[in-house]
Amino acid sequence: MSAAKIISAILAIVLAALLPTIWPNPYYIHLMVVIGIYAILLLGLDIVVGYVGEVSLGHAALFGIGAYTVGVLNWQFGAHFLLTIPASIAVTALFGAILALPALRVNGPYLAMVTLAFGTIIQILINEMTFVTNGPLGLKIRKPVFFDYHVTGTDYYYIVLVALVATLFVVQRILKSHLGRAFEALHDSPIASDCMGVSVYGYKVYAFVLSAAIAGLAGGLFTYSEEYISPNTYNFELTILFLLAVIMGGRKTRSGSVLGAIIIVMLPNVLSDIELFRKIATGIAVVTVAYSVYALATRQRTLKQVALPVLATIALAVSGYMMDNITDHRLTIFGAMILFVVYYLPNGLMGFLRSIVQKYRPQWIHRHEVILEHGDKHHVWSVPDHPVTARGHLLEARNITMQFGGLKALNEVNLDIAKGSVHGLIGPNGSGKSTMMNVLTGIYKPAAGEIEFNRKHITGATPSSIAGEGIARTFQNVQLFGEMTAIENVLVGLHHTFKHSLIDVVFHTPRCKKEKNAAYLRAASLLQFVGLADLANEEARNLPYGKQRLLEIARALALNPSLLLLDEPAAGLTAPDIKELMAMINKVRGHGITVILIEHHMDVVMSICDKVTVLDFGQKIAEGTPAQVQSDEKVIEAYLGGSAAA
């Protein structure tokens, strides 16, 4: 974190601590408590929605589980605050794990529906299990007592503030660590994550559990704040409100979560005052119209682009004067706000502010941690986690068959890769080369056949465990983590070097620092090796195509592989770049790493491969030295069609 950020964070905390003295009205203090509690929950929700990129409609239920854990423990056993709050965190985390189980198999809309079903079930259970929860009647709880001192509303504000700051701190540390990178990576490209040894399943569950634990904390605090809980609080409307807050405040930012919490807590207050609403709606309409006229006049926007927002804001203002009670329409307004945010503010208010600042003061904005480590030649290479013990052949694939529907993409293919060689795999389109890659890296499970790598059977193993064994790969259609910087991409490849735990992450233990520094140095060195040192802090999606391919190689090398699979590395490279690529591959081989190379640039294949295997119709039609293959009649026929059709 930069000095400016730290200072502004401290200022914000001091200001928040002074608020009750500036504004001693108990009603406002209570509102601020609720803002703090919601902000805690949103920080957790953002891990799932912002980082992992899944829509969770179950966070109101998780919040409710936290609240009810406190409520029930207090009601049934009279348990103390210091016991109930950790219990609510633990219990909710457990439910988070249960909720995440289906997430092992599904994502996107399915997962959204799963979380919705989960939320509905929890609400039913709270309502029906009267013997535990007192059902629809709800539970009454008093604020905690410490040594006979009854905590007041203002005291409680400080308790929540401490909890919020602590949560902010922990969440920030986690998201800036290798764990946070893993969450982001699995959202950007699940396949590449798995192939970098970052198990998609494992980290999704991890994210859900973390997020749930934080929701549990928020829920527990909420019980003591409200002093009364009932099942209907934790309904679908609250879930929608939470989602609105996260996307409106701005995903993937801590400030966005706090801002979102302020908005959703203050909004109902604004909406209960029709006069205030009319003024605000009119103001928004005036601003929108003025901006649109300006944008039209300066030709930044077309009439078509501005028509909808202008009409919508005017309609909003007019409807304000037509309605006499706005509270009844609040769901419509929430819905409209979500629509507006999804279409016009995809990065939320913080993202919008950031883009404005970026325009005028780009040096103030760093979306990512800037890593200025300088690489060197010594730290490019490292020993594999599993040293090569095989002799002769590093990899042996026996009778691999892979079927898609009726089509045999691979038909009993044998492949022996000699240790330390560069092995070319060529063939016409659709001949099964990429399928072979996917079988070797565990993305496809072959219908038949066996693969032995480094004297270990890896047939049917998961991609992340195969990656762990020391097989790294690049992808034909680039699979980078687009929203992460170049160096962060390489750091995901180095994920296996981070052996420290969550506790180490939160407290920045010496072990954590040591591994982090080593990884930064290594990542910078790898970028230097592929010639991307200058672009280390550039987002991967902004790199030119050829550079993206080189970045994939650096990321793959970060795994310390003993076998590197390159899928069309020269595609999109210019002639001088290709020369450098060939030099690079030779250096990789020089360090004892075996390479399998799929490539269409025959010049590349012919000049650096020790051995070439040619596939056609999923079958091996030739194998040998480049010269042998090049003059093989079958190969020429496969490529040129020869006289087969004549």
């Binding site: 089509l407 659709g430 025959m602 190969v635 490529y639 040129l640 069609g641 087969a644 059709a645």
Partner: protein, 240 residues
């Protein structure tokens, strides 16, 4: 009939075609050959509107079709038998063929004798006639290829685009496919043929273009290209 001028196209930010120009005259067969990844399929997709070209100009029958949606380009009279065949697997063979005539059966193109054309396609591909009620997904690769070609013919197109009709087919079927292309040529159908099998493609075509890394490296009458060493080099690399 079909003119492509200075076409730039690609996927996302990645440019695959760096300005190519191809001309397909009325009644002629023009072939586009080149190795994997050279940009042949990208060219076809840009022409038929499956992807939006970045820049350049494509005209069909004098009408500018650059950047139009594929359904509009089809209605303008261009049929495309795509790479990978892309038959509708849960529909019967006959239904697949009828969908090829969709603009004729609905609007946008002269109806003509659809049933008669269906019969003519079945005459051209007797194998399809035998399997007319079968679901397309259950056909073999070769039969699916014939279905894809037949389906494109059902439009009565002004220009027919054939993308890799021989891909993934056994040698005997490749022969059969080329026999049919020759037959269509004899009927005077204007065709743009993309092929990996250069020799066979040049045998049937009138004119050829060799695509290398998104640029036209050589072009000329098919007869002339057949003996051009540059063509072989484009596939297998220069000898070492």
């Amino acid at each position: 009939m079909l003119q492509i001028q200075n076409l730039h196209a690609g996927y996302g930010k990645v440019e695959v075609l760096h300005g190519i120009s191809v001309e397909v005259p009325q009644g002629k067969v023009v072939t586009l050959i080149g190795s994997n990844g050279a940009g042949k399929t990208t060219t076809m997709r840009s022409v038929s509107g499956m992807i939006r070209p970045m820049s350049g100009n494509i005209t069909l029958n004098g009408k500018n079709i650059t950047g139009l949606a594929s359904n509009k380009i089809t209605r303008a009279g261009l049929a495309h038998s795509p790479e990978g065949r892309r038959v509708f697997s849960t529909l019967s063979v006959t239904d697949n063929l009828l969908l090829g005539a969709f603009p004729r059966l609905t609007f946008g193109r002269e109806r003509g004798d659809v049933q008669g054309d269906l019969k003519r396609v079945f005459d051209l591909f007797p194998r399809l006639k035998e399997r007319e009620a079968q679901l397309a997904g259950t056909l073999s690769g070769g039969e699916q290829q014939m279905l894809a070609m037949g389906r494109a013919l059902m439009l009565n197109p002004d220009v027919l685009l054939l993308d890799e009709p021989s891909m993934g087919l056994a040698p005997l079927l490749v022969k059969e496919v080329f026999r049919i292309i020759r037959e269509l040529k004899a009927r005077g159908i204007t065709m743009l043929l993309v092929e990996q099998f250069a020799a066979a493609a040049l045998d049937v075509a009138d004119y050829g273009y060799v695509l290398e890394n998104g640029r036209i490296s050589v072009h000329g009458p098919a007869e002339q290209l057949k003996n051009d060493p540059a063509v072989k080099a484009a596939y297998l690399g220069a000898a070492h």
